[in-house]
């Protein structure tokens, strides 16, 4: 015990600041040594296997075929002409498309199921309970296999089809065919009208808020906004002479056997994409349903009682009192579900939907063989999406969170 009063190092090690610096230096040295060791190993391994280094391969041309999707349409992908960078962009575009569609569908289904679970109708409640419990306790990959191998592979062969909606919408093993919108000259004005309507709607709601604050008068904000956003583009569309045509899918039932089946026209959703979309949105919806249920239940009953005591109509109370408070609980976990969905879209490699993992870290990696660079690029895609979503959602959370005084 006597040593404690010694000068020098004896006293220094009981100094918190010294200890903290000491530990950090220790960790920093260990970390640098570890990273250096890995870097050294990696470099010597690359040399030993006589591999190239760096991102030069991105300018080489890629020779393999990629399933036609939105991604290939964006990059105008042609085997033998397009580069590996195009492959990367195609993959990223496909990932983002399926994630975006998945988020929309999952949110819709999830909210409906969450509200069903709180319904006092036993059928609705039971249905959504079973839905939630079954889907979230079965692995996503199994669900993906189910939709792809069991449902979509069982569709009629390429020479026949199931008509879902007359001649216009049909499905077979090669995909789902629907009419494709073909904007003609002048359709840009409709987009412009939509933009004007959105801006106008926001300005109108600001004006209505101000008017209500000053005079107490209420304007029908919601209906005006709906009218503007639907009406203005419709009028423009009509004035411009309906500048939108539909390209219908064609189906040859007769003729030489190899020419039967769907033609090249119309909008095609490949089965891989439908399977990924269905699996992702149904699986994530089961989690969102639970989040929505918890969020609504988190609003104390007193809130709705107080609203009716104040004379608010039930739908106004729902819109102005219940939903804003529930959203505060719902939004943060909802964000992480959106992120999970985006990350889970990487499972599409299992059924060869051409997402970034499948085409870039799969096919392209096998041809180029530069693991470090390519896996790094793939990880950066997901990290960028994750971090930017987090940043956006933090901002959004900050906006809707309770203002405490």
């Amino acid at each position: 015990m006597a040593n404690r009063n010694n000068a020098g190092i004896g006293r220094l090690i009981y100094d918190q600041k010294f200890r903290s610096i000491f530990f950090q230096v220790l960790v920093a040295v260990a970390l640098i040594a570890f990273v250096a060791w890995i870097a050294d190993n990696t470099l010597s391994n690359i040399d030993a296997q006589e591999k190239k280094k760096g991102f030069g391969f991105l300018e080489d041309t890629a020779g393999f075929q990629i399933l036609n999707t939105l991604g290939t349409a964006i990059t105008d992908y042609t085997p033998g002409v397009s580069t590996y960078w195009d492959v990367f962009v195609t993959g990223v575009a496909n990932t983002l498309v399926v994630a975006f569609l998945g988020v929309i569908a999952a949110t819709a289904i999830g909210f409906v199921m969450g509200i069903f679970r709180l319904s006092n109708n036993a059928i609705l409640k039971g249905f959504s309970t079973v839905y939630v419990e079954v889907l979230r306790n079965v692995p996503l990959l199994l669900q993906l296999f189910f939709w792809y191998f069991f449902v979509l592979r069982a569709m009629p062969d390429a020479r026949s089809r199931i008509q879902l909606w007359g001649e216009e919408v049909g499905i077979n093993i090669t995909g789902l065919y629907a009419p494709a919108p073909q904007p003609q000259e002048g359709f840009g004005w409709v987009w412009l009208a939509l933009a004007v309507a959105v801006v106008g709607g926001i300005l109108f709601s600001n004006y209505a808020k101000k008017l209500q604050a000053e005079t107490g008068k209420q304007l029908p904000v919601l209906w005006t906004q709906v009218g503007l956003i639907i009406g203005l583009p419709l009028i423009t569309y009509w004035v411009m002479g309906s500048p939108l045509e539909w390209e219908y899918p064609t189906f040859n039932e007769t003729g030489p056997i190899f020419k039967r089946g769907f033609g090249d026209t119309g909008l095609v959703l490949i089965p891989e994409m439908i399977a990924v979309w269905l699996a992702l949105s149904l699986y994530t919806a089961s989690f969102i349903a639970e989040i929505v249920r918890a969020g609504i239940m988190a609003v104390p009953k007193g809130q709705s009682e107080a609203s009716s005591a104040l004379g608010l109509k039930p739908n106004v109370a729902l819109r102005m009192v219940i939903i804003p408070q529930a959203m505060r609980v719902i939004v943060p976990p909802l964000t992480s579900q959106y992120l999970n969905l985006t990350k889970n879209s990487s499972l599409s490699v299992a059924i060869a939907y051409p997402d970034v993992v499948s085409v870039f870290a799969g096919t392209a990696l096998n041809q180029v063989g530069q693991e470090i660079e390519m896996v790094f690029m793939m990880m950066m895609v997901y990290l960028t999406v994750s971090l930017s979503t987090s940043i956006f959602m933090n901002w959004f959370n900050g906006r809707i969170k309770l203002v405490e005084r």
Binding site: G10, N45, I123, K125, V138, L142, F150, L347
Partner: protein, 484 residues
Amino acid sequence: MKTNYQYLRTEEAPILPPPATQSGIMGWLWQNMFSSMVQFHNVGAAIRSLLMIALTVVLAYAGFNTIVSLVQFAFIDAVWSDPDGLKRGVCTTVDQGGIATSQVGACWPYVGAKFKTIVYGAYPTEELWRVDIVFALLAVGIVWLVLENTPGRKLVGISMLTVFPVIALILLTGGHFEIEAQTFVIMAIVGLGGVALWVLGRNGGLGAFIEAFSAMFLLAGVTSLALLVAAFATSIDFGLVEVETSLWGGLLVTLVVALTGIAASLPLGVLFALGRRSEMPLIRYLSVGFIEFWRGVPLITVLFMSSVMLPMFLPGTEYQVDELGQTVLDAEGKPVILSEGWDFDKLLRALIGVALFSAAYMAEVIRGGLQAIPKGQYEGAMALGLSYGQMTQLIVLPQALKIVIPGIVNTFIGLFKDTTLVLIIGIFDLLGAIQSSFTDSSWATPTTNATGYLVCALIFFVFCFGMSRYSVYLEHKLDTGHKS
């Protein structure tokens, strides 16, 4: 004063039965079904009621249909046995080359035939008893821990985390690892040295510096000695046949990956959670970086990374090279090896990826628990003069871990489902085993796929649903009602 009022009732009013809308089956039906559908007092309510009726009818029909077709598939139309060993013939109709007279449902003989693959993969049949022992030990251990009031729960819990993995490793692989003598020597020196420094130095006998870090010496020493014992045990030749991990498969791999993931992620998760709340900026940023990195990327990319990038990160085999850069060959014409490369087994590489990945999620769960502990607990511990290690070990972690047990179980459920992804890097887990059994043409029938997926879904459902119920139960049990 007593007066008789004509209008005053002298006997008690009879007790009326509750209204029909409140009691009995009809009452339940009314309250839970029809009350939302019969409001027509204004246009909005009428529309809502009509919508509700339509929805109820549609959902009831869909649900009923699903249940009926499932029962039809799994029981009524199912083929239960294959007495003549016809394989696919027993589950196909006459038109398809089989013996069934009508369209068949689930093909259960297929599951029976593939049972070994589904549970053990390609593990050698005569060695299956080793896997069975591991399964049995695991089951006993888990039941022991889940049931309350069993004696020695703490001891069982600790041995499940320390002794059981070693036994499982020896039984599953066969043990008898080649471990170099110098590894033992190093571990022994570090272990004994650490413990010796702790024994001699904890009371200041070796100077203040040693005293200040005596807890760390003890930790390093004990860990090293434990590793020594484990390494020694795995190097003993028990006379078991070696079974390579490439032969493992099915439920065995699913359980190995999931349990290793959870066991490795707990200590790592605690470390990173503490690191994220550390006051040392470097430690904090490193922990945040680690956690956010792994949480920001999908598990598949992690598995890709561990299967293709990890070998690049580790030392490769080095060959002796002469002045001209040519590899030197020995007398047999083989290149002279200077140092062996670190050649990791494929399953082990996946396990490393899974462990790091789940450690990041675990760290966030545990951080939630750390944050839930009132500041007064920290201040109280510090006021008592406890060191950081003592405070963490005695005050903070016991409370924090208790709070987050449901969260840990939920993480485990997620991990358990995610183990299926290892099939993408070519390891045959439960789903992989079932998926690969579809390629067996002797069992190729129209319903093989559906039967296989149904079995797989059922197994996962039973495990995951059971765990989620357990986590709900724990949540209720651990809820002390102090939450504000």
